[in-house]
Every structure is written in C-alpha cells, then in structure tokens.
Subunit: 470 residues, 2 copies
C-alpha cells in the first residue's frame, strides 16, 4: 500500500523546519489550560495566536469563534479549492491543554519548550498543538510540491478550546455552525500511532462520561470514639461505591451499562493480535507493574474496544500528618466512564445516576454532577477515505500502515453525527509522548511525518475519493 | 445502692466552697495548652501551681515530674494512710488543656473564668482541671468528717501534662515510675456521666489502633483513555480495601479481628437499655442523619462495647476543579480501629497488616504505617472497688447510679497494664460541658458532687475492699 515519497515535499519541509519549530514553541508558551478558570485569558490568547498563524499560512478565511454557553474560544479557518468537484475536508484539533506545573515533576518548565535530543518537551507538544500545527506546514508543502495556489480539497480547520475539559459546549458550537463546517469527511488530528516504527491509522475512539459525586454525612467532622461505628461515614460510603463499580471479574457493575455495546468482530480481534504487542513494553510505558482489567479480553481490547469505569480522584477526611480520629463530614469522587460504539451517553448517565442513588445508606446525602460527555465513534475498515489516509501515511513512512483504535475520547463522534460525515484519524504521536502526564513531548522526526502525510493526503483524497463515495 | 449523705462532709464543703472555687479559678487562668509549643512555659507553671495547691491540701509528698522524651511535666503526690492494711489508690487526671481562643466564638475569655448562673466557664473547667481539683477538697472533707489526720487509703495522685496531645510519653513515664505509682486500684477522673440527672459510672474505654496505608500504582499519573481499564488503579484499590473492611452487615471483615472480644453480658445489655436514650437527640449531637453500624447491636452498644474500623481520611488522584482523566499514581488511607476488652493491640495490627497485603492485586505496591496504639480496658460490674465507687456516688447524688462505657480511648489501659491494677472511672461531667469546644464549663453543683463522692470513697474502699479482693 506504500507509494514513493515526494522529494519536493521533503525539500520544502527541510527548508521551513526551523521557522516552523520556532512558531510551534511560541504557541506552546501560552498556558492554555481550559480546566483552570484562571487561565481563560491564556486560552483566548492561544486562539488569537493560532488565528494569526493560520492567516500567515495562507488561509483566506480565519475566524476566532466564541463558543456558546460562555465557553472558551475556538478557531475556524477555510481554504477553498476553487474546483467544483473537490471534496470538502474538515480537520479537527484543539488548542487547549491539560494542567501542568513544574512541581508535578517536570524536568523542565512545561510552558517553556525545551528541545533535547530531537524531542521538544512542553505541555501540548503532542496533545494537541503539535498535531494541529503540522497541518500548517503540510498544506504549504502540498501547494509547493503540486504547484497549486489553493489546496486540492476544500480545506477547513476547526481547533477547539475546551477539549481537555471534556468539550462541554462543542456539540452546541458545531450545531450552531453546521453550515460553515459542512464537510464530506472529517479528519481528527488528536490521536496517536502504535509506535515510531509501526505507523498505524486509528479507526475509532471511545466516548467519555465523567462525573463528580459528593457525599455528605455528619454536619461536621465528628469524634470517631464517640460516634464511630454507629453513624454512616461518607469516606467509607465513597469507597464502597467505588468498590461496587466493578464485579470480581472487573466488568462494570452498573446495571444497563453494557446496553448496545458493539462487540469486536473476529477480523478486528485478529488485526489487533497481529500488532507487535509486547506486554512488558506496554507496561513500561504505562509505568505500571501489572495489567488488570475485564476478564476475557486482551490488554489492547480492554483499552480500545471495551467500556470502562475509572476513579480519577477521591478525597475526604483528614489527610495531614499523623492521625485524627474523626468520622469525616464529607467525601468526594471523580469518576469517568469510557464508552464504545453503540453506547449512548444519556443512557449511561442515567444508569450511573440511578445506580449511585441506590447504593447509599440513609444518613448519606449525595450530589452528582455530570459536567460533560463525549460520544464514541468508529469508521469501518473498508471506507475509501480511510484508504486514502492509509496511502498518504504509507508514502510518508515508507511502511505498511496497520490499524488501531484509540482508548481516549474526543469530540469526533459529535462531528460525525452533526455533519453526517465519516471520521478519520490522522494522529502522529507515540505512547512515550506522555499525554496528560509530566514531560510531555513530541518527536521532531514524527512531526515531519505528520507534515508529510498532510501534504500527500489532499491530493490523494481529491484523486481517489469521488462524489459517488461521499 | 444509695446510702444516707454525710452532713459533716456537706458542712465542710459549704464552709470551704468559696476559697476552693477561687483556687480553681486561679489554676484555670493558666493557659496550659499542651498542643502549642509556645505554651510549654504555661504548662510548667500549671504543674507548679498544682504542686503548691496539693502541698496546701496536706499531701506530704508532692513532686513535679519531668516526662521522658522531653515531654511536658506531670505532678505526682502521695499521702500514706499510716495503716498497714489500707489499700493504695492512684487517682489519674491531667492539667493540660485543649487550645481555646475568644475568637473561636467563646462568650467570655476562655482563660478568665466567669461564673454565670451556677456555672464556671473556662477552658479546662470540666476537662480536666475541675475534676482533678475536686479531689483536693474531697480528701480534706474526708478527713474532717472522719476525724482522721491521714486518708483511710494510701492516696496517690498522678496529673499528666500531655493528655490533650495524645499522651505520647505517658507509657514511658509510668514505666519509669512504676514503683512510686504502685497501687491496688486506679481511679480515672477524666470522663463524664450520662446526664445531670442520670449519674453514671463508666466501666471501660475502647482501645485504638490507627494506621496509614499508602498504595502505589503507575509510577506517575497516566492517561485513563490510553491505559484505564487495563492496569490496576490505586484509588480503586484503596476504595476496594475500605469496602472490604466491612461485611454487608457492617462487621469488620479482617480475619482474626474479633479474636478474644469480651462479649456483652445480658446484664450489661439490660443496664445499657435502661438508660434514657433518645436516638434523635443522640443523632443531633452526632450531627448525623441516621445511624448505621454492626447488625445486632444498639447504638450505645456499637459505640461503647463493639470494636470498629473507621476511615478517618482517604485521598488520591485529581481533586481540583473540573475533571482530569487519569489513572492516579497513588492513593492513601488513614484508618483507625477501636478495640474492646479482650482484643490485643499487636494481634490486631498483625491481622490488619496481613489482610491488607492479601487484598491488593499485582501492580499495586503498598506501605502500612501503624504509629500508635491504645489498649482497651474494662472493669467487671461485680468488682468490689467498683461497688465502693457506686456507693460513694450514690451517697453524693442520692440516686441510683447507672453504668456506661466510653467509646473513646485514653491512657487508662496503660495504667491498668503497667500497674497491674483495675481501673475505675470517677468522672463528674455532663455532655453539655463542651469538652474540646467553645464555652467549656463546669456545673458548680456537680463540682460539689465530685468533692462529696471523693470524700465518701476513701472510707468505703478501706472498709469494703479487703486485701483478699486485690
């Protein structure tokens, strides 16, 4: 499936690499942490910086969009092909980032990019600023190599500002802007590949439902000698809730949770099994000592194709030095559920809410907040646009491209549903890039491959994907 | 069980009340807050003031003891009976107090005693200076009423200075001074009664084993989309550990935990049930919406006579605003176990440690720290010294004396073990005295009852408790 690389594309990249990396570093310096209300100004600054960069790239239409619901701004850009038959492609990414602080254990300041041994370390380097940014040099390389003045496809770009906060207003945004966003295919650049030497295309993402559960017991912390053992303890009940989330074989125990789940086909299980998976290596990336998950599934199947329930945070009572013999007044949980194709967000939310209410004893009051949710999505292996993407990547990498899925979640499914277009994943990042963790980085040679793939893709799509396929 | 009051004792108290209260007020003005290193000088001044007061009372031996480990000073006093057959009694109390400040919401300065409507308001008025001090007038009333020049028992007094800081050096102190402290019975004056019109004697305290359990999973927080559902999550495992602590009927599920537990007798259960217990009132003091505890036991039985496991604190993962989709690297638990008579601290510690190790899956490393422990203690209802105490209180109150226990834990058990003597609780204080809270006070008429009980007790003990009972 590989074809020969394009020396004109490579030459253009070589000539423009330094300026491109300097530009990316400038963007990474903006701490666009969407989860932190105190950083709202930085998220806006990041959007404006990107809009300016896209204008410099050559996009004739560039707009900073206010997000409905008082959300953080997104950036939209459009570059029409000028050819009537050209397909319309919408590239999706995000410009907000996860929280990060030097004190968390970073070797360098997370918001002062550092290039060391061919890697650029910074929060957002891989997730997702680096991947959004390779499209800017990519489209310029596409034009330079083909001699065109506009891309072979009608190219649109939507870069949101709330992805790391669960894209709470993204659905409303794209519903409000459906006309401008209309596309024949959506390309998501916010995922990763199997490994540096095993390039892959992802065919689906899991969805996400997250929630915070607040449990309240005594009106204040009370003496555990005088009252302990005779009143409900919210920390104990929070723990019992978490324990009840899973059965002994680590299936999610919430009734109705698995309703509608699209089960893996034999072909998919075989393709997954073909990947050079080394469990010890995977564990070393996961920085974990052992695997543990739903009985009857491999590790890859568990993270790619099975729904899960995870505790992201738990707290309650005394957490300082020494002991304090109290029954705490409250306890809190942050839970998230990953969904797979076939599961419906609203049904899962209702199932979780109903289940929580049933678990708690008298004397424990609870509140549950379900702030955001992301739907799962999945593109069939034989889709023609998927074939174009596989060819473009094959040219960039000079290798057979394999298939994966993504365990994480993004707004891909919303785009698929609202725009009525298939979703492809062009994600050039490797597991060691430390998304959401300390020392996030991007491999500079992979950044090149991202630019190159983007440069080949528009020609291939225009050539191979006819209106009849849309 | 009540006998007639002694008019000589009452007369003596009436004649000396004013001077006694002035003296107590002077002591209460010394802010002997042991938890505050800046008050160490005040704690020492409090010890010296008490030593002087005990000399004025007539004790021929009075010593200020330095506490091992650089602890705060205790006061020891001794007044031999002079009769060869007399039993030896050690009275225990403490002269340090909880922190207090007017700004906390006190109606008056906590270290400037104020007498209002028959109550003296001051930090330490009930816990524990008032209760220590009634023994001074008590022994003088005993001498005045009996015409003796020395008490009917060999009377010893040990008043420590670190009780409100958890008595960290008390075990070492009494082991160092075992010979001087040797006694046939220990009387603790540092507890309370059921209510002003329901005088009671406490017959035991629960013990305490506390621990911190640290669970470690991935070497750092990892992305729950990429790895969640396939690696063990320390927050989940901490929660499962807590959930596994109790069975569905809220018994402690740690194997061996109940080994040796002295079960309640039918008589004790009947006596508890006789107390005028109002569950709604108890819940309002507990500030809780409902009761919950070990199946098959009443609320009073649960807090007084049953061992428990309680979560005092739990924390792990992300606890800030919004969500963070991680599998956290670590999670932590602070647990405490209340023990009842028959349980051994070391066996409970071993049972808990072994159980924790068995619960955790591969990939979760754990550490358990068991910093301190307090043993339980219990005096049988038919103990002759307890009968003497009940008779003395009955004479003072002119009422039937009932029985309670104390759900909290204190150094009583250490005294019992080190001195090999039974422990009795002579505590004259009511729940509204606001121990550890704002507007702590002592009811002056209850202070009288304390003096009176102490005055009757030494004669009764000398008369009814022969060497054969020791």
């Amino acid at each position: 499936m590989t074809t020969s690389p394009d020396s004109a594309v490579r030459e253009f990249i070589d000539q423009n690499r330094t300026a491109f990396l300097d530009d990316l570093a400038a963007w990474l310096r903006i701490p666009s942490v969407s989860a932190d209300p105190g950083r709202a100004g930085d998220v806006r600054r990041s959007a404006e910086w990107l809009a300016d960069a896209l204008r410099r790239t050559g996009f004739p239409v560039v707009e900073v969009w206010e997000t409905p619901g008082g959300g953080l701004p997104a950036v939209f850009a459009e570059w029409p092909s000028g050819e009537a038959a050209a397909p319309t492609v919408l590239v999706y990414g995000h410009h907000d980032v996860q929280p990060a602080a030097r004190e968390d254990g970073w070797a360098t300041d997370p918001f002062e990019p550092a290039v060391v041994d061919g890697r650029m370390f910074a929060r957002g380097a891989a997730d997702d600023k680096g991947q959004v940014f390779f499209h800017t040099l990519g489209v310029r390389a596409h034009l330079a190599a083909t001699g065109r003045t506009a891309p072979a496809v009608n190219l649109k770009l939507l870069v949101e500002g709330e992805e790391e906060s669960g894209s709470p207003n993204f659905g409303a945004l794209i519903r409000e802007r459906t006309e401008q966003l209309a596309a024949d295919v959506v390309i998501i650049s916010d995922t990763g590949m199997w490994a540096e030497h095993t390039p892959t295309v992802c065919t689906g993402m899991r969805g996400l439902v997250d929630c915070q559960i607040d449990l309240y017991g005594p009106a204040q912390d009370i003496h555990s000698g005088s009252f302990g053992g005779a009143v409900p303890n919210p920390a104990t009940e929070a723990a019992r809730l978490v324990a009840a989330l899973h059965t002994e074989d680590r299936r999610v125990a919430v009734p109705g949770f698995y309703d509608g789940v699209v089960e893996l086909t034999d072909q998919e299980r075989e393709l997954f099994a073909e990947l050079p998976f080394d469990e010890q290596e995977w564990l070393s990336v996961a920085k974990s000592g052992a695997t543990l998950g739903e009985a009857g599934f491999s590790t890859l199947e568990r993270v790619w194709a099975r729904p899960t329930a995870e505790v992201n945070g738990i707290w309650g009572g005394y957490t300082g030095p020494g002991g304090k013999t109290i029954v705490p007044a409250e306890a809190h949980l942050k839970l998230s559920f990953r969904l797979v194709a076939g599961q419906e967000v609203e049904k899962v939310r209702q199932a979780v809410s109903a289940w929580v209410a049933e678990q708690l004893p008298a004397g424990i009051r609870h509140e549950i907040v379900l702030p955001g949710a992301t739907r799962p999505c999945l593109t069939p292996l034989d889709h023609p646009a998927l074939q174009s993407l596989v060819r473009a990547m094959g040219r960039a990498f000079g290798q057979k491209i394999r298939f994966t899925r993504e365990g994480g979640s993004g707004p891909a499914a919303d785009l698929q549903d609202v725009l009525g277009a298939p979703v492809l994943f062009l994600g050039i990042s490797v597991p060691s890039d430390s998304w959401h963790s300390v020392d996030e980085k991007v491999e500079l040679d992979l950044l090149d491959k991202g630019v190159e793939t983007a440069a080949y893709l528009w020609s291939d799509l225009a050539e191979h994907w006819g209106p009849g396929d849309r």
